[in-house]
């Protein structure tokens, strides 16, 4: 029994969540192999080989793997799958897009977004926006599983020295063409892995007012999140959305500002260690999950928050 983990990367670096996925994979079986598919991505394969739980890295490079098109990836993974009991991947948009395409080819009922490994065939996964946890057992001999990365600790990033093998590329799927990717570059910590997240909702009233969130985030070295309402209203771009259909975050500190707390939003943040809610509506559901609730007008509270932080001698980074 061996586990094949499909690495998420950008052809230069491994995505941080691959380390969390490696931890989950190693809980399924100790024989973890990492598959790196990309273009000119030797550095990624090398980084994967240094992860201590990894026993082998398989690298497949070709120009048509440059942009991670699932239609190109699925056939090569399906071919390699013969040698493995489990095919796993992070449950990010990369893995969500790719894994079902592999599972269908293998005639396997995929298990999405696991938060716990109970045994090699039994997993726990959230359903109904995290309002229930289901323990599920699969009868498929080959198992396709996606992993909620925030539910597993990352493995060490160095110390390992797994061999790197090259495998043959597959053919290009010509009916799907990559056009462009609009990535918002930022010096801030990544939303998924930040220690602190400051999020704004509909209560921010405009994109311009998000500056208040930005200032607070700067001070706390935090990532910026948003509710779906704020993204729909165009206050901020979609990559900031936290919730059932956005990102799941588990920071040490989550500050929800002007967010009412619909269950779809809570699904993405309620596992945070400490939750702060600032909202002028004292009945807002967000207060039901907040460790510290402040019933206040955010346009007064946020400038005061900055002032109070400025008075502190030190702020954790």
């Amino acid at each position: 029994m061996s586990v094949l983990l499909i690495a998420e990367h950008n052809n230069k670096e491994l995505k941080a969540f691959t380390l969390n996925a490696v931890t989950a994979a190693s809980q399924i079986d100790t024989d973890v192999h990492v598959l790196v598919i990309g273009n000119n991505c030797a550095d990624v394969a090398k980084a994967a080989s240094q992860l201590p739980p990894v026993k082998k890295v398989i690298s497949i490079e070709a120009a048509h793997y440059e942009n991670f098109i699932a239609e190109n990836f699925a056939p090569v993974v399906t071919k390699l799958a013969e040698n493995y009991s489990h095919i796993v991947c992070s449950a990010n948009t990369f893995g969500k897009n790719l894994m079902p395409r592999i599972a269908a080819k293998l005639d396997t009922s995929q298990i999405s977004d696991i938060i716990k490994v109970q045994s090699p065939d039994t997993f726990v996964r959230p359903i109904y926006a995290g309002n229930a946890f289901a323990t599920v057992k699969t009868s498929d001999s080959k198992k396709c599983v996606t992993i909620r990365p925030t539910s597993f600790d990352p493995c060490e990033s160095s110390g390992g020295s797994a061999p790197i093998e090259n495998a043959e590329a597959g053919e290009e799927f010509v009916s799907t063409k990559f056009i462009k990717r609009e990535e918002i570059k930022s010096d801030r910590p990544e939303l998924g892995t930040a220690r602190v997240v400051v999020s704004g909702g509909r209560g921010m009233q405009s994109g311009d007012n998000f500056k208040l969130i930005t200032s607070l985030a700067d001070k706390l070295n935090a990532a910026i999140g948003a509710s779906r309402a704020a993204v729909d209203a165009g206050y901020i771009s979609n990559d900031h959305q936290v919730g059932q259909t956005g990102k799941v975050v588990v920071p040490d500190l989550y500050i929800a500002v002007g967010i009412s707390g619909a269950i779809q939003h809570l699904a993405g943040m309620k596992e945070s260690k400490v939750i702060v809610a600032i909202n002028k509506d004292g009945e807002a559901p967000i207060f039901s999950v907040a460790d510290y609730g402040l019933e206040a007008d955010l346009f007064e509270a946020l400038p005061q928050f900055l002032e109070e932080l400025n008075k502190l001698n030190t702020i954790q980074k």
Binding site: A103, P126, I127, V136, Y292, E308
Partner: protein
């Protein structure tokens, strides 16, 4: 051009679900049911494409118990031309649904298949990708913008890093994000008209698809509850608590 749209009946997104005491599942008796929200976006987009003169027919299909037909009827009320209801009881896993849809595609020969990117009940996010895999068609998942061109679609996808644009040749599958459009409400006259539109009834077994689950649900439980928090009276108190009590700043 013909567009097939798959819709699913789920517990309404506003309902606070309850876990059954015996751990066997979720309480569904006397609970409000609706169309899975992003499936409404899928129907809306198909109808808009037809209204723009770029499609000739929109067919709505669902897989599920007797009452799932309501979901198809609703799609007809907002502009789908006809419906197909594939009857199947119990939990039908995405793999089985995609195999059923593959049979419907073989029969209907649509140029496009639309559906929501994920169902809000099981949160699987699989069916569209599985269907395109079975058909070996291109897939554009998590679509927030669709531009129909001659024999092709340009689709903007919402990904973790931001937005990605791809071009896919038809026939193809698109899974829709909530931001794709604003679904319309059905008007009363259109609801009345929809009652006369045809819905073809089929059984999953007639299509030769084995719908027996491959995944056993051992138990369903409530997630651990958070401890009740406190209300603070001022920003100064909040910062003091975060610094000295929670020790997170």
């Amino acid at each position: 051009m013909k567009i097939l749209v798959a819709v699913k009946r789920v517990i309404d997104y506003n309902v606070q679900i309850r876990v059954k005491e015996d751990g066997s599942g979720i309480v569904t008796d006397n609970v409000k049911m609706s169309t899975n929200p992003p499936d409404d976006n899928a129907i809306e987009e198909a109808v808009k494409i037809k209204e723009a003169g770029k499609a000739t027919e929109v067919v709505a299909v669902t897989v599920g118990e007797e009452k799932a037909q309501e979901t198809v009827r609703k799609a007809l009320a907002v502009g789908a031309d006809r419906g197909i209801h594939v009857k199947a009881d119990g939990i039908i896993e995405p793999l089985a649904v995609s195999k059923i849809l593959q049979k419907i595609v073989d029969k209907e020969k649509p140029d496009l298949v639309f559906m929501g990117k994920q169902a809000i009940d099981d949160d699987c996010n699989q069916t569209g990708q599985m269907l395109s895999s079975l058909l070996d068609w291109p897939q554009a998942t998590f679509a927030s913008k669709i531009n129909v061109k001659d024999g092709k679609l340009e689709v903007v996808r919402e990904i973790d890093e931001g937005l990605e644009t791809i071009e896919i040749a038809t026939p193809a599958i698109v899974t829709c994000d909530l931001r794709l459009n604003e679904p319309r409400y059905a008007s009363l006259p259109n609801i009345m008209k929809a009652k006369k539109k045809p819905i073809e009834q089929l059984n999953a077994s007639d299509l030769g698809v084995d719908v027996a689950p491959k995944i056993q649900q051992i138990k369903v439980e409530e997630p651990p509850k958070r401890k009740a928090g406190i209300k603070v009276s001022s920003v100064a108190e909040l910062v003091q608590k975060l610094k000295n009590e929670a020790k997170v700043i």
